[in-house]
């Protein structure tokens, strides 16, 4: 089964601080994604990537940066964390092709900004 690992699983950050969420996948998938999950909003796409060195803005990119240094790794960076960024963040990977962009999720990171 597809393996996506996120770290840390829980994080408490201070307002104005820098936060980096990391994601590693061992599936050799081209595509990787960062979503945040909030009650009433479902899963919202922050950034995604279709290969090493690429990053694309999703639907809610403001306040976030992303980095894809390799096929396996995709990071989400909050340069100046704010309380409104308190949420659960999911990383996912997926392969393009005839089977459709099915995604496989990591277990999530719970971020609290105080």
């Amino acid at each position: 089964e597809a393996a996506v690992t996120q770290s840390p699983r829980n994080k408490v950050a201070v307002t104005g601080g820098k936060v980096t969420l990391s994601c590693n996948q061992t599936n050799n998938h081209n595509n990787m994604y960062w979503y945040r999950q909030d009650t009433g909003h479902g899963l919202r796409l922050i950034h995604y990537s279709y290969g090493a060195g690429s990053t694309e803005k999703g639907d809610i990119p403001d306040g976030y940066k992303a980095s894809r240094p390799s096929q396996e790794n995709f990071s989400l960076i909050l340069e100046l964390a704010t309380p409104s960024q308190t949420s659960v963040y999911f990383c996912a990977s997926g392969a393009s092709g005839t089977g459709g962009p099915e995604v496989f999720f990591g277990k999530g990171t719970r971020l609290t900004v105080v």
Binding site: L43, G58, G100, E102, V103
Partner: protein, 111 residues
């Protein structure tokens, strides 16, 4: 841009009854449609998917039919069980990279 709409935030049912969770989508290109299920404190997992118009897709007792004429992909089950209590997401992808999710429908099944 692409979007997915789930109209019900919460559906509560008694065990053994049928259920239908609504999903409509708006995309520029011909899409793949997915249903994901998320149990409490777990990651979302794929339940079923389709890209074929008017063909029923089934998995674990759940089924859905993609209707491109009405841009719909509703999830159904004939008899819900307590273990079906979870958060269900409809999602759309266009064969490339971007996958967009709906806001989710929480299904609560009571004894």
């Amino acid at each position: 841009g692409d979007s997915v709409t789930q109209t019900e935030g919460l559906v509560t049912l008694t065990k053994g009854l049928p259920v239908m969770l609504n999903c409509t989508y708006q995309t520029t290109y011909s899409p793949f449609l997915f249903w994901y299920v998320q149990h409490l404190n777990e990651a979302p997992k794929l339940l079923l998917k389709s890209s074929t118009d008017n063909k029923r897709t089934e998995h674990q007792g759940f089924y859905a039919t993609l209707h491109k004429s009405s841009s719909s992909f509703h999830l159904q089950k004939s008899s819900v069980q307590l273990s079906d209590s979870a958060l269900y997401f409809c999602a759309s992808g266009t064969g490339g990279y971007k996958v967009v999710f709906g806001s989710g429908t929480r299904l609560l099944v009571s004894p």
